[in-house]
Amino acid sequence: MKPVLLWSDAMFFLLLAFCLAGIWWARRSPQLAAAWRQVGMSRTGVAAAAVLSFFVLVALLDSFHYRERLPQQPGESVQYGVEVLSALDALLAQQKTRTEKTYSAPLATHLFAKESRADGQGRDFPRLKFGGIHLDDAGERDADVLQRGLIGLAGGGVLWLALFVVVRQWFRPRASWFAWDALLWAVGAMLLIGGVLLALMPHYHVLGTDKVGQDVLYLTLKSIRTALLIGTLTTLSMLPAALLLGIVAGYKGGWIDDVIQYIYTVLNSIPGVLLIAASILMMQVVIDTHPEWFSTAAERADARLLSLCVIMGVTSWTGLCRLLRAETLKLRELEFVQAAQAFGVSSWAIMARHILPNVMHIVMISVVMDFSGLVLAEAVLSYVGIGVDPTTISFGTMINMARMELAREPMVWWSLIAAFCFMFVLVLAANLFADAVRDAFDPRGRAA
C-alpha cells in the first residue's frame, strides 16, 4: 500500500487545520466565544451542525487516498495499482466491488430488465449476482428486509439511548446552555437511519444500482466529498485575495481603490457561467496536452476539480471583496483607527490589527452562506458539462446520468431520488447552519 496525497486532500486537511486553529483562537476571544455560544444555543444550528459533521466525516474518510500494492512477481520491483482508492472505498469495499450487470431497484433481488435466460427458454428477470443472494427463495425478501431492518433500527436505538444517558449525566450539567436536545434529535435520527442501512447493506443494494450495476448508495456517499470540496475550497481559494484587496481598497482609497474596483467590476461583468465555461474548456485543453503531469486518472480528475474551485472562486470573490471594502470604509472613520493613526502606527499594522479582526465576522458569514450555493452550482455546472471531470463521482454527474433514465419505461427513479435526498439534506443543513451563524455574528441581524 502506498499513500497518495492528492492536492485536494492536502487543501482539505489544511482547511480542517484552519478550522481547528480557528476554534482555538475563538476560545481566547470572548466576542467570538460568545457568538459561537449563541450558535450552540440555537436548536436548528446545532442540529444542522450535527448533520453536517456526518457529511464532513464521510468526506474526510474519502480523503485518505492510497494505491494498492499489486501481487509481486518474483524478481520484479514493487508495483502499485493504477487506481487510487480511499479509506471510504476500503470501508465500502463490498459496495464498490459487487457490481451488478445493470439497473436494479432498491433492495431488489432481480435485475430491472428482462434478459434471455441462460437456458435459452424465453426472457426473464435474472437474479442479481450479489443483491439478496443469501435468500434461497426471492419471495422471502420482504420478511428478511423487515427483520434485518428492525435489528438495525434496534441497534441504532440502543446507541442512541447510550448517547442520551451520557449527555444527560455528563454533558448537560456541564454546559446547560448548549442545545443538547437538538443534538440528540439529529444524531438520533441519523443513528436510526444509519442502523437500518448498515444492517441491510451487506446483503442488498439498498438504493439500487445504476446502468453499469454500481451501487447507488456507494455513489451517493462518494459524491459528498466532491460537494464539500467545491463548497469550501472555492471560497477559500480566493479568500486571501478578497481580504487583501477589499481591505486595502477601503483603507487606502484613492487610485488604489479605483484600480481594485475596476478589477472586480470587470470580473463581475463577465457572466459567471460563461467565464467558468471558457476557463474550464481551456483548462481541459491544458490538462489534455500535458498527460505527463499526472501519474493516475485520479490526479487528472483532481486537477480539474481544483481548477473548477479556483475558477468558481474567481467569479464569486468579488461579492465578498465589495462587502469588505464597504465595511472597511466605515471602520476607517471610527475613532479607534484614528487613535492608532495619532500614534503613528503604520497602515499595514492598522489594517492587520484594527480592521482585519473587525471584518472577520463578514468573512465567516459569507463563507457559510456561500457554501450551499456552491454545492448547488456544482450540480448545474456538471450537468452542463463544465463542472467536475466526468469520471469524478458527484451529485452533478449522478443527476446528469439519472436524467436519461427518467425517460425509460418503467422509470428508473432511484438514483435521482437518492441524489436528491442526500443533496437536499446537505444543503438544507448548510443553509440552517449558515442562518444560525449569521444571527450570531451579524450585529444587524439581532433586531430581525
Binding site: 470572548p30 475613532e335 492608532a340 500614534f343 503613528g344 499594522a349 490589527r353
Partner: protein, 614 residues
C-alpha cells in the same frame, strides 16, 4: 401621590404603569397626571425608562417589551378613554389625532423618500378627512405656524433638503396636524445645536399656549425642564423617585438623586472646585436593586435603604419623594446638603507657548462634471490662528459643522492641512512625513468623542493602551506602566486583561485617556470627550481631566459645544463659526463680556435657562 390636583380634570392619568422586557422592568409602577395646558417633564439619565414610558402610553412598545400592568386614562374634551382597553383600531384614532408625538432624531424620524407635504397630508387625511387642495392648504398653514420659511416650496421638498432645525419643525407640524390635545415630545432638542434648541423650545411653548395642549416632555436636560415644565417627574432605573411642581423642584430638590443631578452640573460649580459626582452607573435591567434602586450609589444610604423599598412621602407644596429620608416616622435628622470639598485653587501659571497655530486652513475639494475635476473647495477651516501655553486649557467652542473637530485633527496631522503652520514646542509639524513626525506624535495625543467607537472591540484594554507605547518605541516596563496608568485614571490594574465591551461609557472614556497618557504627551486634544455621557458621568471625567492637568502639567485643547463645561474648565476660549475664529480671549472675558454677535447668541441660548435657577 400627587394628591394636590383634582383627578377629574386631568388630561392624562397614568397609574401603576409597568413594562417588562424578559424579567427586567424598564418601567416600574410609574404614575403621574398631566393637566390640560400643562407640561409634565420626565427627567432622567439615559436608560432610566423615560422613552419607554412614552411609548407605552402610545402603545407603540417594541416587540420584546410587554405591558405588564397599570392603566392610562386619556380624557380630552370629547370624553375619557382608558387607552390600554381600546382596540387597536380605536387606538389608531388616538395616535396622531388625540395625542401627537415628536421624536428625538429628526434626521431619521422622517420618511426619506416622501415629501414633507405628503407626510403631513397623511395625518390630515387620516384624522381630519382633509385631502387634495384642502389638505395642501392646511399643511401650508401648519408649516407657517411652526415658522418654516417659504412654506409653499418646502411642502414639495424631501427631508434631506431641510436643515436639522427645519426638520424638527416639520416634525412638530406633523404632530400638530391631527390637532392633538396632548403632545408627547421625546428629547425634542437633544439632536440640535444649542442656538436651535432655544428656538424649538420657544416654539413648542408658544404652540402649547395657543392651543392649550397638555405636554409630556421627556428630557435628560435640567435646563430644558426649567424652561418648559410645570411639573417635574424624576425617573431613575425605571421608577419615578420624585414628582414636584417646578418651583419646588428647582428651589429645593428633595431626592438625593435629584440633588446629585444638580450638583454634577459644571455650571453650578465655581471654577477650580471639584464637581460633585455620582459614583457608579445606572444599574442594568437585569440587575436592578430590590429595595431603593438608588441606594448603591447614594451617599446618604443607610441599612434600611437596601432592604425596604421606600414609599412616597409628600412634602409641602405638593412635592412627592420616594426616599426613606423623608419618612416622617423616621427620627433621624433632616438631610443636610452636601458640600463638595473645594480643591486647593492652584494658580495655573502660563508657561511657554506649547502650541502655536498660524493661519491654519483645511479645504476639501468639490468635484464635479464629467472628469470629476475639482471645481471648488469647501473651506472647513479657513485661517485659524491661536497659541496655547503649557499647562493651560484652551476651549474651542462652536456648533456642529463649524470646523472645530477638523482643527483638532489637522493639528495632529490626522488630516493634511491645506495651508498654515502648526508648531508644537517650537517644531513645525505640517509637511513632515511619517517617520519625521513620529517623535512629535508622543507629545500630542487625542481623546475622542464616542466612547464606543474609540476603542477597538477586539483588543484587550492592556493592548489598547500599549499600542501607542510600542508604536513610539517605549518598550520598557510596559506592563507596570499600564497598571500605573489604569490606576491613574481611576480604574483597577487588573482590568488590563478585559475587553472594552465590559465597560460603561464613562469607564471607556477613562481607558481612552489612559491610552493618550501612555506616551507622556504634553498636549491632549479633547474632542467633545463628555458629550456622549450622562451628566453624572460627565462630571467624573471632567474631574479626572482637571486632576491630571494639576498632576502632570498637561495642556488641553478642549473642543466642545457645551458652554457650561467651558466655563468650568477653560483658561482661554476661542469661538469658531463657519471655519473661522470669531472671538478669542480669556474665559472670563469671553463668557462675561462677549463681543461678537455669534458668541452672544451662543451664550444666551446656553445660559438663560440656568441663571434663574442658580
Amino acid at each position: 401621590m400627587v394628591a394636590s390636583v383634582d383627578p377629574h380634570a386631568a388630561l392624562l392619568t397614568v397609574a401603576g404603569l409597568t413594562v417588562q422586557i424578559g424579567a427586567g422592568r424598564p418601567v416600574d409602577e410609574v404614575s403621574f397626571k398631566i393637566m390640560p395646558g400643562e407640561t409634565f417633564a420626565l427627567l432622567g439619565e439615559s436608560g432610566c425608562g423615560k422613552s419607554m414610558t412614552a411609548l407605552a402610553v402610545m402603545r407603540l412598545l417594541p416587540p420584546a417589551a410587554r405591558l405588564a400592568s397599570g392603566s392610562v386614562s386619556y380624557a380630552p374634551s370629547a370624553g375619557a378613554q382608558s387607552l390600554l382597553d381600546l382596540t387597536e383600531a380605536e387606538m389608531r384614532r388616538v395616535r396622531g389625532g388625540g395625542i401627537g408625538m415628536i421624536f428625538q432624531e429628526p434626521a431619521t424620524s422622517l420618511n426619506p423618500v416622501m415629501t414633507i407635504g405628503r407626510q403631513i397630508a397623511e395625518v390630515l387625511d387620516l384624522h381630519l378627512g382633509l385631502s387634495g387642495d384642502a389638505a395642501r392648504k392646511r399643511a401650508h398653514e401648519l408649516l407657517d405656524t411652526v415658522g418654516i420659511p417659504e412654506a409653499a416650496r418646502r411642502l414639495d421638498e424631501y427631508p434631506f433638503q431641510l436643515s436639522g432645525g427645519l426638520k424638527q419643525r416639520a416634525m412638530i407640524a406633523m404632530a400638530l396636524a391631527g390637532e392633538p390635545e396632548l403632545l408627547i415630545a421625546d428629547e425634542p432638542t437633544t439632536a440640535l445645536d444649542v442656538t436651535l434648541q432655544a428656538q424649538v423650545l420657544d416654539l413648542l411653548k408658544q404652540l402649547q399656549r395657543e392651543r392649550g395642549m397638555g405636554m409630556l416632555l421627556i428630557t435628560h436636560d435640567l435646563g430644558v425642564v426649567e424652561r418648559m415644565a410645570d411639573h417635574v417627574g424624576v425617573m431613575y432605573a425605571g421608577q419615578l423617585v420624585e414628582v414636584a411642581p417646578r418651583e419646588q423642584f428647582f428651589g429645593n430638590p428633595a431626592h438625593p438623586y435629584s440633588r446629585k443631578l444638580f450638583a454634577a452640573l459644571p455650571e453650578r460649580a465655581a471654577a477650580g472646585q471639584r464637581l460633585s459626582t455620582i459614583p457608579g452607573m445606572v444599574p442594568p435591567l437585569d440587575a436592578q436593586p430590590a429595595a431603593c434602586r438608588f441606594a448603591p450609589r447614594c451617599s446618604l444610604a443607610f441599612a434600611e435603604c437596601s432592604t425596604l423599598a421606600p414609599a412616597w412621602h409628600v412634602q409641602a407644596g405638593g412635592q412627592a419623594v420616594r426616599c426613606h429620608l423623608f419618612d416622617p416616622l423616621r427620627s433621624s435628622a433632616p438631610v443636610v446638603a452636601e458640600v463638595s470639598p473645594p480643591v486647593a485653587a492652584v494658580e495655573r501659571a502660563g508657561g511657554d507657548t506649547l502650541l502655536q497655530v498660524r493661519d491654519l486652513k483645511v479645504h476639501f475639494p468639490i468635484r464635479k462634471g464629467l472628469l470629476q475635476r475639482t471645481v471648488a473647495h469647501v473651506a472647513a477651516v479657513d485661517g485659524v490662528s491661536f497659541d496655547l501655553q503649557a499647562g493651560r486649557t484652551l476651549a474651542l467652542v462652536g456648533e456642529s459643522g463649524c470646523g472645530k473637530t477638523t482643527v483638532g485633527k489637522a493639528i495632529l496631522q490626522l488630516i493634511q492641512p491645506t495651508a498654515g503652520s502648526v508648531k508644537l514646542a517650537g517644531k513645525e509639524l505640517t509637511g513632515l512625513s511619517g517617520n519625521a513626525l513620529q517623535p512629535l506624535r508622543a507629545q500630542a495625543q487625542m481623546v475622542f468623542q464616542d466612547p464606543f467607537g474609540s476603542l477597538n472591540p477586539r483588543m484587550r484594554v492592556g493592548t489598547i493602551i500599549a499600542e501607542g507605547m510600542y508604536a513610539l518605541g517605549l518598550r520598557e516596563n510596559v506592563r507596570e506602566r499600564i497598571a500605573e496608568l489604569l490606576e491613574q485614571v481611576g480604574l483597577r490594574a487588573d482590568m488590563a486583561t478585559r475587553y472594552p465591551h465590559e465597560f460603561s461609557g464613562g469607564q471607556r472614556q477613562r481607558i481612552a485617556i489612559a491610552r493618550a497618557l501612555a506616551v507622556n504627551p504634553k498636549l491632549i486634544v479633547c474632542d467633545e470627550p463628555t458629550s456622549a455621557l450622562d451628566v453624572s458621568v460627565q462630571a467624573q471625567i471632567i474631574n479626572l481631566l482637571h486632576d491630571l492637568q494639576q498632576q502632570l502639567g498637561l495642556s488641553y485643547l478642549f473642543i466642545t459645544h457645551n458652554m457650561a463645561v467651558v466655563d468650568y474648565l477653560a483658561d482661554e476660549v476661542a469661538v469658531m463659526y463657519q471655519g473661522r475664529i470669531v472671538e478669542m480671549g480669556s474665559a472670563d472675558t469671553v463668557l462675561g463680556h462677549p463681543q461678537h454677535e455669534y458668541t452672544q447668541t451662543l451664550l444666551a441660548a446656553a445660559f438663560t435657562r440656568m441663571r434663574g435657577a442658580a
